[in-house]
């Protein structure tokens, strides 16, 4: 029981409530952004500017009937929402939200859990979320939910690989997996996004797919699968799935900020003496910087949802396996060689630009399968009228 333990527990207690409140208002923000994009008003009746809408929604979720359909596997059906929620709720713990602080005579890190496996923990916990979805789909005994669960599983495990490779490359660059070291290294140097712009893009795409967000929300596409894996769910059980999804989104945005955008670091505004006299004021400023960056990423995700059309399943798998994974492996080899040669990380930027140029110019000459959206000629296809009949 040290000062670090108490700091972490207090951080957990405060931040989990902050995040839960943030999630309910993020849903309101998402509906507002949707209405702005589609040129309508959005929720505006509950309170001023619809600000009480999250409270009304939460209350309604709680008051609705909690119904188990007859065909479901009762145990798994009730377990699945909790399984989807818990990994999301604990994933953010290693984000070093507030930086270092002086507590009595010892120095502590303001984070949910300052563990030394760092970002690997997020990968381990984040991939647990797939169990909730596949169990929810399987236990419902509904063909739509089953298909939705299968699709979500295939999608999440496929995008797990480039995601893991991105984290691996960042660890390779800095030689540590600890979250606070990664932020310190970026704060005293250059943000990783300037060294590895392709990797940052790759990570962003993969985290969208991991969270089942548009344009990768195939698990719940309304037009094909009714509601996807949560078709049979009602009341708070449905709400827990949504909560888990949003929490996962916040965590993913947090890791993106942590790995590529410098975590709590504010450019040009430095602490007087880093780590020596850090009081509660600086902790709050750093926390604000971290949360602000996360909010920007989340707003971008929401605008993307109302901008891009959804991918088809074969396009989704093709993107993961035939584009992102080879690209990530190529980046891993490049980064390994650069770290070996020890020329300095400026060469990584050069390598990134060179890779982008190479991919751009070589792509048309690579052998590829049949085009995904090829035009089927009318003559000779099964849609063309038989010519002999027409002649007679």
């Amino acid at each position: 029981m040290s000062a670090q333990f108490y700091t972490s527990v207090i951080t957990c207690l405060i931040m989990i409530n902050v995040f839960l409140g943030a999630v309910s208002y993020l849903i309101l923000l998402e509906r507002k952004i949707a209405s702005w994009v589609q040129n309508r008003l959005g929720p505006n009746r509950t309170g001023p500017m619809g600000l009480f809408q999250p409270l009304a929604d939460g209350l309604k979720f709680l008051l609705k009937e909690d119904y188990d359909p007859l065909g479901v596997d009762k145990g798994l059906f009730r377990l699945a929402p909790v399984l989807a929620l818990v990994p999301a709720l604990i994933g953010w713990a290693i984000l070093p939200l507030g930086g270092y602080m002086t507590w009595g005579d010892s120095q502590v890190l303001v984070a949910g859990a300052p563990i030394n496996i760092g970002v690997i923990y997020i990968l381990a916990v984040g991939s647990l979320a797939v169990y909730g979805i596949v169990l929810g789909g399987y236990a419902s005994n509904n063909k739509y939910t089953f298909l939705g669960g299968l699709r979500a599983t295939a999608q999440m495990i496929s995008y797990e690989i480039p995601l893991g490779l991105c984290v691996l490359i960042i660890i390779l660059m800095h030689g540590t997996a600890r979250a606070d070291y990664l932020v310190e290294l970026q704060a005293n140097g250059v943000w990783n996004v300037f060294y590895q712009p392709i990797l940052a893009m790759l990570f962003f795409i993969c985290s969208l797919a991991e969270c089942n967000r548009a344009p990768f929300d195939l698990a719940e596409c309304e037009q094909e699968l009714v509601g996807g894996f949560h078709t049979e769910y009602s009341s708070m059980k449905l709400a827990l799935f949504f909560l888990g999804e949003y929490f996962h989104l916040i965590t993913s945005a947090g890791i993106l900020v942590l790995l590529f955008f410098g975590g709590w670091d504010l450019p040009f505004i430095k602490e007087p003496i880093i780590g020596e006299t850090a009081g509660i004021g600086w902790v709050l400023i750093k926390m604000g910087a971290f949360m602000g960056k996360i909010a920007v990423v989340l707003a971008l995700v929401m605008v993307i949802r109302w901008t891009l059309p959804r991918l088809r399943f074969d396009q989704l798998m093709k993107l993961a396996w035939q584009s992102l994974i080879p690209l990530a492996i190529l980046m891993l080899l490049e980064t390994g060689v650069i770290v070996y040669l020890d020329f300095g990380y400026g060469w990584l930027t050069v390598c990134n630009v060179a890779t982008a140029a190479l991919v751009y110019f070589i792509l048309p000459y690579l052998p590829s399968g049949p085009a995904i959206n090829r035009k089927i000629e009318l003559t000779g296809s099964r849609f063309s009228p038989p010519t002999e009949v027409a002649a007679n």
Binding site: S2, Q4, S8, C12, I16, F61, L62, L63, K64, E65, Y67, P69, L70, V82, V86, L89, I90, L109, A113, P114, I115, I120, S140, N142, K143, T145, F146, L150, T153, A154, I157, E160, I161, G164, L165, L168, I171, L172, H174, A177, Y181, E184, N188, V226, T231, S235, M236, G275, E276, F313, M317, W321, Q322, P326, L332, L333, G336, Y340, P370, I372
Partner: protein, 132 residues
């Protein structure tokens, strides 16, 4: 980097246990609350599987497309590869130049990734990633 506090002791996993308890408690409490508060009216038609108004034919738990299975196997290959590369990535940058270890480590990694690339190309040519 000035004075990062040493974080090595096992007690730093303690807050994580507290957090997991809180998360599980939150989820279970919500499920129980909604079960108690909400109304309950059961019925034969209401309890049937919702498949857009059609009467459901058979059960949903039947055979599914083998491609999902193959994707899962390909995922296992890559995931295990990545897991093996994590320790390598952590120490590779800090190896001493004069010891001759950097060359050895780089060669090993290249060989390891090369074998995986062969497997990847094989799967690609076999049409594992084709969905049309």
């Amino acid at each position: 980097m000035t004075h990062p506090p040493a974080i090595d002791s096992f007690s730093h996993y303690g807050p994580l246990a507290v957090l997991i308890l809180m998360a599980v408690g939150f989820g279970v409490a919500n499920l129980i609350l909604t079960h108690i508060i909400g109304p309950s009216r059961k019925g034969e038609i209401k309890g049937s599987t919702y498949e857009s108004g059609m009467n459901p034919i058979g059960t949903a738990r039947q055979r599914f497309n083998v491609r999902f299975y193959i994707v899962a196997i390909a995922f296992l290959i890559f995931d295990v590869e990545i897991v093996f590369l994590y320790p390598w990535a952590t120490v590779f940058g800090g190896l001493a130049d004069s010891s001759g270890l950097p060359e050895l480590f780089l060669a090993r990694m290249l060989f390891f990734v090369f074998t995986t690339i062969i497997a990847f190309v094989y799967a690609w040519r076999k049409g594992v990633f084709r969905y049309d």
